[in-house]
Amino acid sequence: MSVIADPAALNRASPGYWRRLRPDAWTAGVLVIALAVALPLITVAAFVLQPAGDVWSHLVHTVLARYVGNSLALAGGVGVGTFLIGVSTAWLTSMCEFPGRRVFTWALLLPLAMPSYIIAYTYTGMLDYAGPLQAALRAWFGWSLGDYWFPDVRSLGGAMVMLSLVLYPYVYLLARAAFLEQSVCALEVARTLGCGPWRAFATVALPLARPAIAAGLSLALMETLAEYGAVQYFGLSTFTTGIFRTWFGLGDAGAAAQLAAVLLGFVFVLVGLERVSRRRARYHHTTGRYQSIRRARLTAPQATGAFAVCALPLALGFAVPVAQLAAWAVRTWSRMVTPAFIQLAANSLMLAAGAALVTVMLAAYLAYGARRQPTRPVRWGVRMASMGYAIPGPVLAIGILIPFGWFDNTLDAWMRVHAGFSTGLLLSGTVFILVFAYAVRFMTAAVQTVEAGLGKVRPSMDEAARSFGYRGLSILARVHLPIMRGSLLTAVLLVFVDVLKELPATLIMRPLDFNTLAVRAFELASDERLADSSTAALAIVVTGLVPVILISRSITRSRPGQRNGAA
C-alpha cells in the first residue's frame, strides 16, 4: 500500500492551518489533558498501596462493614426500583396506545431534573410528623402521636424510593431506545411461532433489550453509589458520607482516600458492566428495515392501568415535589430573595458558565485530536479523559485536594527557603480547583456531545471545501462551526446544568466565603429550614429542565422508521 493510503500521512501533507500545529502537538495536548483528568484517579489509587494507618484499621473494625452493607443495600434497592419503573414505562410508551402516551414519552424524563437531595428533603418535609399529610390524618381520625404507624422517610427504604424516583429515567431512556430499535418483525416472528404477547415480551423483547437495560441500570447505580446529599440528609452511613466524616471529622486524608479507593472499585465494576453491555448491544441489533410499530390498542381497564403506571412515577418523582417546593417558595419568596441571594445566584451562574466553557473547549480539543491523529495513544488518552463521570464527587474532591495541597505546601516551603516569602495556599481553596474538578467530572458528556457533532462533519466535506480553495481556519469557520454549533451549545448547556446541581465536590472544595445555590439549599435544608431552601431548590430544578428538554427533543427527532398506512 502506498503512503497516501494512510490518512494521518494525508493530514501531514495537507497545507495550511493544521501544519502550524505539528501533528505531535495534538498527541501531546491530548495526553496532557488526559493525565490532568486522571490525576484524582491516580491519587486515590496510589493510596491503596500506602500502608494502612491507625484510622484505617479503626474504620475496618468499626464502620466499614456498615458502609459497604448500606451502600450495597441501597444500590440493590435502587436497582430493583429503577428496573421496574424504567422498563414498564418504556414498554408501555413504545408498544401500547393509550390516552396521554405522547405526553408521557417525554414527561417521564422530567424527574431527571430533580436532584436527589432536593427530592429527599421535600418528601421529608411533607411526610414527617409535622408535615401536612400526617397533620391531616391526625385531624381526620383524631389520632395523636404514637397512636398510629407511619413509614419513616428518613430510612434506608426511604432513600431507595427517593433515588429510584429520580434515577429511573436512565433505564427508561435506554430501554425505550432498545424497544424502538428492535425490529417489530422479531416480535411478530415470536407470535407466529406460538407466543402470546406476554410470552413474546419475556422471551424476545426483554432479552433483546437486556444490554441496553443493563447499561441504564449501571448508570443509575453509579449515581447511587456516588450519592451524597440524600443519604447524608437521611443520616445513613454509606461510603460517601463515610469519606466526608473521615476527612473532616477524623482529619485523616489517607484513610479517606483509602475509603474512596474501595468505593471506586465498586464503581469500576459498574463501568465495566456498562461497557460490556454496550458492546454486546451491537450484536443485539435486529437487522434491516424498521416496520412502523403498530401499538397495541388497550381496552379501557388496560388503558387506565397503563396510564396509572406511567403517571405514578411522574407524579411522585416530579409533580408532587415541585408543587410542594412551589408552595413553600410562594410563602418564603419575599423573605429569601435578598441581595445576598442574588449574589449567590450570580456566583452559581458565573461558576457554571465558566466551568462549562472551559470543559467544552477542552472537549473540543480532545475531539479534534482524536480526529486529526487517530493513533492509539490519542484514542487511549481521550478515553481516559472521559472516565470522570464515574468518579463520585467526594472521591473526586479528595483526589484533587490531596495533590494540590501537596503542591501548594511544597511550593510554599521552597519559596520560603529560596525567595524568602510565603506563597501560602496558592491553588487550594480557590475557584480554580473547583473549575478543574467540574471539568474532570463532566468531561465525558462534553466529549461525547462534541464528538457527535464532529461526526456530522465528514472528512469528504473538508476535502470538498479544500477543492474550492478554502483552507485551515476558513474551513473551521465556514464549514465546521455552522455544522457543530448546535452540538457545542448542547455540550455547554449540559455541563452548565450539571455544575449548577453538583453538591458534594462543591461542598468540600469551595473557597471559604463562596457559596452556590446547591450548597445553600442543602445547608438550609440540613438546618431544618425546608421552606426557606425552596427558592434555591426550585431555581435548580427549573434549570435542570433544560437538558431534559434537549434529550427529549433529540429522541423525537431520531426515531427511526415511523411511517403510517399500508404497505
Binding site: C185, H285, T286
Partner: protein, 348 residues
C-alpha cells in the same frame, strides 16, 4: 384439502382500503405467490393472513377452520402460520439451534434435538447450530430463518419478500432452493414479491395485485399466455399492445396485416381492440417481405431484444438470436407467429 381459503377479504386502515375483496385458495403442498408493484396491498394481505391485521370484510380459512372474519380474529400464536421476514428477524440472543427450536414448545428434549438436526441438514447448515446469527453469512441467516419458520410444521408458511435483500443474480437460484425445501417438507407456502422472475421461479400459482385488487389467480403459464386483463398483460413479461379491429370470421385487422385466430365470442366485427404481442410472437426473418425499423436494441448475451417501429409508428418487441446483429435505423424482415390471440377491448 385447501390449506388457505380467502373469500372477499378486505383490509382497511382508517378510510384507506389496502386490500379490496380478494378471493383465492391454495391446496396442500402448493406454493402461491402474490406479485404487484409496491403499495398494491400484498403485504397487508399477508399480515392479515398471519393475524396481525384485522379484516374489514370477507373471511380467511386456514386448514378449513375459520381464522379471520370481520370483528373476529384468531390471535397470531394460535394460527400455526409460519412467517419468513425480509430481514430474517433472527433472534440475536439465541444460537442458530436456539432460534430453530424457539417454536417447538411442548416438544420433548429429544424430539427437539432431532428436529433441529434434521432441519439444519435440510437447509445445509450442518454444524452451525451453536453459532449466533451474527456469525452467519447473509445467505446462511436466510436459511436459518427458513428452518425456524418451518420447524413447528406450520399449516401455512408466509414469505414476505424473502429474497429482496439478496443480489439479483442469486434470487432465482435461492427461490429454487426454497421451493425444493418446502416441497420436501410438504409445506404450503404463500410468498409476496414485486419481482415476477422470483414468482415464476418458485410458484405453482401466481396472483397479480394492484390497488388492493387481485386481478388474476392462476398458474404461471396461463398468467403469461392468457392474462385476464390489460394490467396483468402489461405487468407480466415483455410485450406490446397493438391496436386492432375485429374483422369477420375469426380474423383481426392490424398494422401487421390480417391475423387469423380465435377471437373471443363477445367481440363483434368492427369492434376496436388491443392485441397482446409478446417478443417471442415476432420472429426475425431476413426473407420476409414485411419489414420494420430498429429503434432500440438491448444485447442480452444469448439474444437481442429489438424494439421495432412499424410503418404506422406502432412499436413491437422482437427477440432474435444473438448473431443477428442489426444497427439502429436498419429495416429488418419480420414474421408474425401467434399461437392464440389475446385480445382486450379498446375505446374507439
Amino acid at each position: 384439502m385447501a390449506q388457505l381459503e380467502l373469500s372477499g377479504v378486505c383490509v382497511r386502515y382508517g378510510h384507506a382500503v389496502a386490500v379490496d375483496g380478494v378471493t383465492l385458495s391454495l391446496e396442500t403442498g402448493e406454493i402461491g405467490c402474490l406479485v404487484g408493484p409496491s403499495g398494491c396491498g400484498k403485504t397487508s394481505l399477508l399480515r392479515a393472513i398471519a393475524g396481525f391485521e384485522p379484516i374489514a370484510n370477507g373471511s380467511i380459512m386456514l386448514a378449513e377452520t375459520i381464522a379471520s372474519a370481520p370483528c373476529w380474529s384468531l390471535p397470531p400464536q394460535k394460527r400455526s402460520v409460519g412467517m419468513l421476514f425480509q430481514d430474517f428477524a433472527l433472534f440475536p440472543h439465541l444460537t442458530t439451534a436456539g432460534n430453530i427450536a424457539f417454536g417447538l414448545r411442548g416438544w420433548s428434549r429429544r424430539a427437539i434435538d432431532e428436529r433441529v438436526e434434521a432441519l439444519l441438514a435440510l437447509v445445509g447448515l450442518e454444524g452451525m447450530g451453536p453459532r449466533y446469527p451474527h456469525e452467519l453469512s447473509g445467505g446462511q441467516q436466510q436459511r436459518a430463518a427458513l428452518a425456524r419458520a418451518i420447524a413447528p410444521r406450520p399449516t401455512l408458511l408466509l414469505l414476505d419478500e424473502p429474497f429482496s435483500s439478496q443480489d439479483v443474480e442469486r434470487r432465482a437460484r435461492l427461490a429454487q432452493e426454497v421451493r425444493q425445501i418446502l416441497r420436501r417438507e410438504h409445506v404450503t407456502g404463500l410468498l409476496v414479491t414485486h419481482d415476477q422472475h422470483e414468482a415464476f421461479a418458485i410458484a405453482d400459482r401466481i396472483g397479480v395485485m394492484s390497488d388492493g385488487h387481485l386481478h388474476q389467480w392462476s398458474d404461471p403459464y396461463q398468467l403469461y399466455h392468457e392474462p385476464a386483463d390489460l394490467f396483468v398483460a402489461d405487468f407480466i413479461g415483455h410485450g406490446a399492445l397493438l391496436a386492432a379491429d375485429v374483422g369477420s370470421d375469426d380474423c383481426l385487422e392490424t398494422s401487421l396485416g390480417s391475423i387469423r385466430g380465435h377471437v373471443p365470442a363477445h367481440f363483434r366485427a368492427g369492434d376496436p381492440v388491443y392485441l397482446l404481442v409478446r417478443p417471442d410472437d415476432i420472429l426475425h426473418d431476413d426473407r420476409s417481405d414485411r419489414t420494420a425499423t430498429v429503434v432500440h436494441r438491448t444485447f442480452r448475451g444469448a439474444d437481442f431484444l429489438y424494439t421495432l417501429a412499424l410503418d404506422d409508428g406502432e412499436e413491437v418487441l422482437c427477440l432474435s438470436p444473438s448473431h443477428h446483429d442489426h444497427p439502429i435505423g436498419e429495416r429488418i424482415g419480420i414474421r408474425l407467429e401467434i399461437e392464440h390471440l389475446v385480445v382486450f377491448a379498446r375505446a374507439a
